[in-house]
């Protein structure tokens, strides 16, 4: 790495001489209030999802804005501490939006299709995408793009196919995928249960023993900090990383059957749901903090406004 190219004099590798503007204070205050408003929006979004199953809270931080660095020409007076430049800041902006993937609290519901995940794992959900290549039968082909979720509030929905099967879907209708990447299907009238290893058992009326319909695909993502929210409780990597070749290195498939029913680390918990991981106390504390910062910036804006008024009243 090349060492910094250094400065022969002020302004060598700095941005020098921003435009001199009278209402600099006003711009600083206005820009900062904008950033604080967006932070408030995030907090409100988190609080609104306090009871949403499997919701993962979003955080953001602030960064100070690029300064304009004015070179100060002329003799440097004795007793001066800093180099002969005047760095003028422009406030703060919202930066670093992050999703916090820590697990939420578990509640027992008793519903056999409500699933929670214990350990560092995610369910794989298929987002249907209509492709251009047509089915041999003449219709457009539907391909399922993967996305992941912790929310296991699944239900059975009719698949619409001629065989009359039902698919296991999220409340929004996205099919849950099995280890082969296909939607989990069960026969029309059957008693569906899921075991701790993600195996879906369907018992048809008149049968004593349930039959194995599919095994749920459970994955661990190696880079949870790169996940983005896709809405409806689904999370996925940015499109560039969802390319199958790249994705392979970033997603680890977990074979729960191989791990066995008594695996302490990863398990599917039927009859349980994971709640939102929003900590209301922390969000409200941050809300108060941001509100006060907003008030302070509004006060600064008022002060800048008054200064401009004073300048305007200089003459007449």
């Amino acid at each position: 790495m090349t060492a910094g190219s250094g400065m022969a004099g002020p302004g060598r590798n700095l941005i020098v001489n921003g435009v001199e503007s009278m209402n600099h204070s006003m711009i600083t205050a206005g820009v900062t209030m904008n950033g604080l408003q967006r932070r408030l929006d995030l907090i409100a979004h988190n609080i609104a999802n306090l009871n949403t199953t499997g919701y993962k809270k979003q955080d953001a931080t602030f960064d100070d804005l690029l300064t304009s660095i004015k070179a100060q020409r002329g003799k440097t007076l004795p007793g001066r501490l800093t180099p002969p430049v005047l760095p003028i800041g422009s406030g703060a902006r919202l930066a670093g939006l992050k999703i916090d993937m820590t697990a939420g609290p578990l509640t027992e519901t008793g519903n056999p299709l409500d699933l929670a995940l214990q350990g560092d794992a995610l369910f794989e959900i298929g987002v249907p995408v209509v492709t251009e290549t047509a089915d041999p039968d003449g219709g457009p082909q539907i391909v399922y793009e993967p996305a992941w979720t912790r929310s296991g509030a699944f239900r059975l929905s009719p698949s619409g196919d001629e065989d009359g099967t039902f698919m296991l879907t999220t409340p929004d209708g996205y099919p849950v995928l099995d280890v082969f990447g296909n939607p989990v299907r069960v026969p029309a009238v059957s008693d569906v249960t899921v075991d701790r290893q993600g195996n879906v058992w369907a018992r048809q009326p008149g049968q004593d023993e349930p039959a194995l319909a599919a095994t749920l695909k459970v994955v661990r993502v190696t880079r949870p900090d790169l996940l983005e929210a896709r809405g409806d409780g689904l999370y996925a990597y940015p499109p560039a990383l969802m390319d199958p070749a790249v994705r392979e290195a970033l997603v680890e498939e977990l074979d729960l059957n191989e791990r066995g029913p008594d695996d302490a680390e990863i398990a599917v918990l039927p009859g349980w749901l994971e709640g939102s991981n929003v900590d209301l106390a922390a969000e409200l504390t941050e809300l108060i903090n941001v509100q006060r910062a907003y008030q302070l910036s509004a006060r600064a804006l008022q002060s800048a406004h008054e200064m401009m008024g004073i300048a305007n009243r200089l003459r007449g």
């Binding site: 250094g6 931080t61 007076l77 180099p83 800041g89 900090d225 600064a300 200064m307 003459r315």
Partner: protein
């Protein structure tokens, strides 16, 4: 023309700069790692006033010196340790520093006077980052994110540097599994072994110590730059500096102080405006009333 008019105008501009600095402090009261800025005022060089023509016999010659105005000379950052706020995130780092120098007792503002009567400033510790050109920058904002390639980035995308001068890369490891020691060494929590970098050596975060912190120029985006990068040295073991993982260093802005500074600047601005208006009325009389027939 009338000296006072230009002095008052200079005063207004100086107070405006002071107001800008106070507003920027208020704006960054929530920015991690931000250091509050104070404005120092300085008078213009003095002019020697000389009477050249007067009715009073014998009163000629120099009257005396008069300062011809004021300007905002510098924005001095206040390098006081900010409070640490716990976030619990593995990639949030904060520096807790109180560097001791033999024989000196630094005050709350980081100043001390040595045996020779010179003012000495407390050396400050920073994370070292590189911008997209590879130039070295210094920051106290330790809110890093790890990208897909395993590089540790600041909120504005600059890369955190290790002791080998290269960017810190932790590819293939979940950031939550990385433990950062107080000296900046990275350890894999699952194996207990140090994380090995591209050069085969354990990865250690470079904490730079700047002996003359006031030579740093605030560039924005949370970073400082040194005119002479050689003035920064690597942290030595045994210095009273710790890297705290799971914490961020809050801004050291005191909102009350910043608000008072802002109000003072505004009222001084107004006072100077009154002076200008007074001169205006005086000039008005001179131009319009004196000599009216």
């Amino acid at each position: 023309m009338m000296r006072g008019l230009y002095m008052a105008a200079a005063g207004m501009i100086a107070q405006q700069r002071k107001h800008d600095a106070a507003v920027n402090n208020i704006a960054n009261a929530n920015t991690p790692g931000y250091k509050a800025v104070t404005t120092t005022m300085r008078t213009f060089p003095e002019a020697l006033l000389h009477a050249i023509r007067t009715g009073d016999a014998g009163r000629r010659g120099p009257i005396g010196r008069l300062a011809t105005g004021v300007f905002a000379e510098e924005y001095v950052p206040l390098f006081v340790q900010g409070d640490l706020a716990s976030t619990g995130r593995a990639t949030d780092l904060a520096i807790l520093a109180d560097i001791r120098v033999d024989g000196l007792e630094f005050d709350a503002a980081g100043r001390a006077v040595n045996a020779n009567g010179e003012t000495v400033y407390q050396p400050q510790a920073f994370f070292t980052v590189a911008n997209e050109n590879g130039d070295v920058r210094f920051t106290r904002n330790g809110q890093f994110t790890v990208n897909a390639a395993g590089e540790w980035l600041t909120p504005s995308g600059m890369r955190l540097l290790g002791t080998n001068g290269q960017p810190v890369v932790t590819a293939g490891i979940d950031a939550a599994d990385i433990q950062v020691t107080a000296a900046g060494l990275l350890i894999n929590r699952r194996t207990g072994e140090p994380v090995i970098g591209g050069d085969g050596e354990p990865v250690q975060i470079l904490v730079s110590v700047v002996e003359q912190p006031y030579n740093l120029i605030r560039e924005g985006n949370g970073v400082f730059v040194l005119e002479n990068p050689a003035e920064a040295r690597a942290l030595q073991p045994g210095e009273n500096v710790r890297v705290m993982q799971g914490y961020t260093e809050r801004s050291n802005v005191d909102p009350l102080q910043a608000t008072v500074d802002m109000m003072t600047a505004l009222r001084m601005y107004e006072a100077n405006q009154q002076v200008i208006q007074t001169f205006d009325r005086t000039l008005d009389k001179t131009v319009n009333d004196i000599g009216r027939l």
